[in-house]
């Protein structure tokens, strides 16, 4: 019996049921997708509603005021966050990118396997543990809290993200490009630097942004390192305020004014990370359009 005859025989009811099942499952998947997007919209919306009223120029440019005094801002925390995140990225980027390049070039070597295992484990270490670790190796020997120690702990947090995204993105570059370069007599390092990294640059930049965003939002390790500081400080040897730590301090306070400021600070943090992310993407996609770089 042919398939057509079989279908005709078993017929209409079965086909209708299949169509129905198909629709139901599609609907379920769609609902799940919607649910996955919902928290993001909800969070951002809530933070905007709660935080926006307290945001004005003074909030962004002034220093905090004591409890009970109106006004004041979080300029010290904005500057402090840039300091620790910037230092962290500066320390972690070379190790992360070069390590990722090695892991992509020699995935089956002992060191390659070790890098993957170590970074995956490191990524799973709670950030508060990292904070205590940095406290032990930097703060205690120095004898005081500092922006420097904050940068160090954020470097530890960024490192695994940088290594893994760099590695994964380099692996997405077709091996034919690598072969094309090697066949011209280019050495492996040159091939990585001039062909593979430019081809994967979008993904690598995305990885850096992810790492920066993750680090910028860390409050727990800041308790042990940057510590917080109500005054403006640009000295890496002194303690500094940071945005997530400020959110934490304000949010657990009993004063309504401070709690409002916690929401506003959260909004500033989200806005900064988002701006950084979008501008990096615009930059790389402009480059991609010009040179036809692979898009992840």
């Amino acid at each position: 019996m042919s398939v057509a005859a079989f279908v005709a025989g078993k017929s209409a009811r079965r086909i209708a049921r299949r169509r129905f099942t198909n629709r139901v499952m599609l609907g379920l998947c769609g609902a799940a997708a919607l649910l996955a997007v919902a928290p993001l919209i909800w969070i951002i919306g809530y933070v905007i509603i709660q935080g926006a009223p307290a945001i004005n120029l003074e909030f962004l440019t002034a220093l905090p005021t004591p409890v009970g005094v109106d006004g004041g801002g979080i300029a010290n925390a904005i500057v402090g966050s840039f300091m620790v995140v910037g230092l962290g990225a500066l320390i972690a980027a070379p190790f992360g990118l070069l390590g990722g390049m090695y892991a992509a070039a020699r995935p089956d070597s002992r060191l390659g396997v070790a890098i993957r295992f170590a970074t995956d484990t490191l990524a799973g270490v709670p950030s508060i543990v990292m904070g205590i670790f940095a406290y032990t190796i930097v703060v205690l020997p120095q004898g005081h809290f500092s922006a420097f120690s904050g940068g160090v702990v954020l470097a530890f947090i960024m490192l695994p993200i940088l290594v893994r995204t760099t590695e994964e993105m380099l692996k997405l570059v077709p091996s034919t490009l690598r072969e094309g370069s090697l066949a011209l007599g280019a050495a492996e390092w040159r091939t990585s630097l001039r062909v593979l990294v430019p081809a994967a640059i979008n993904g690598i930049v995305t990885g850096v942004m992810l790492a920066v965003a993750r680090a910028a939002g860390e409050a727990a390790p800041m308790l042990f390192t940057a510590f917080g500081n109500p005054f403006m400080n640009t000295d890496y040897n002194e303690s500094v305020a940071t945005l997530p730590h400020t959110i934490f301090t304000y949010a657990i306070s009993p004063y309504p004014d401070w709690r409002a400021k916690a929401w506003a600070t959260a909004l500033v943090l989200i806005a900064l990370v988002l701006t950084l992310n979008v501008s990096a993407r615009l930059l790389t996609s402009w480059r991609a359009r010009r040179l036809g770089t692979l898009r992840p």
């Binding site: 011209l184 001039r194 081809a199 036809g292 770089t293």
Partner: protein
Amino acid sequence: MPVETLPQPTIEPGVIAMRPLVAPERAPLAGSGTTPVKVALRELNVYYGNFRAVREVTLNIPISSVTAIIGPSGSGKSTLLRAINRMTDLVPRARATGAIELDGANVLAPSIDVVELRRRVGMVFQRPNPFPKSIYDNVAYGPRLYGVRGKSLDELVESTLRGAALWDEVKDKLRQSAMALSGGQQQRLCIARAMAVEPEVILMDEPASALDPRATLLIEELMRELKERYTIVIVTHNMQQAARVSDQTAFLNMGEDRAGYLVETGPTTTIFTNPRNRLTEDYVSGRFG
């Protein structure tokens, strides 16, 4: 440890592409017995781990000619080709025994500098693989490795693109992405990229199999022009193509141990009209493979 370099003509950077496109005399026909041998395979075996992919191939590749390697899938054609510029080194646990002599020097010797070898033996791949860079940067990539810069680089890029019959199509968009070119143009760009380091031998691994018939024709025309200056070895599935472009043809087949071995080699006309071996006759007449 001193690195043994292959004997080679001295070349000045910058003027290397200025040689005339057409050689003063046409190279003598392959197989005539008088043609100097550029590449000689001597009892070449290539292994991937314990698996032997190529078995005991001995083959002379004459200078300034096109040698086609034909054979069914799995007969070791690509492996053999990739052994010549040691691209097989990239495969973990791959190794080659026997000898591959380039102007008499064994390229399988551990002391050979593969970077220098690959400059002298260029390669074009099955699918066009231009770098995601501008057209100019694609051609300039190789010469830059050897320190060619500035105006001489501009001249080299132009003469190379002319040599690859691509100049007129791309001269107004050298700074645009190579990814925007058509597949056929991309493949000719890849040929230009290989030519730009002035290799002596160009290996082509089914260079037209991903292209449409018109682009294929252009590549074949280009190969006929290029053999005046280069020794070309092409792997192809397409027997008409082998018949059209090559002077010499080598027929590989897969043995019972699944290793590729050389059945027969000779002038292309002989292989296609009057082969000695029954297997060759069956293959070129389309009865198997």
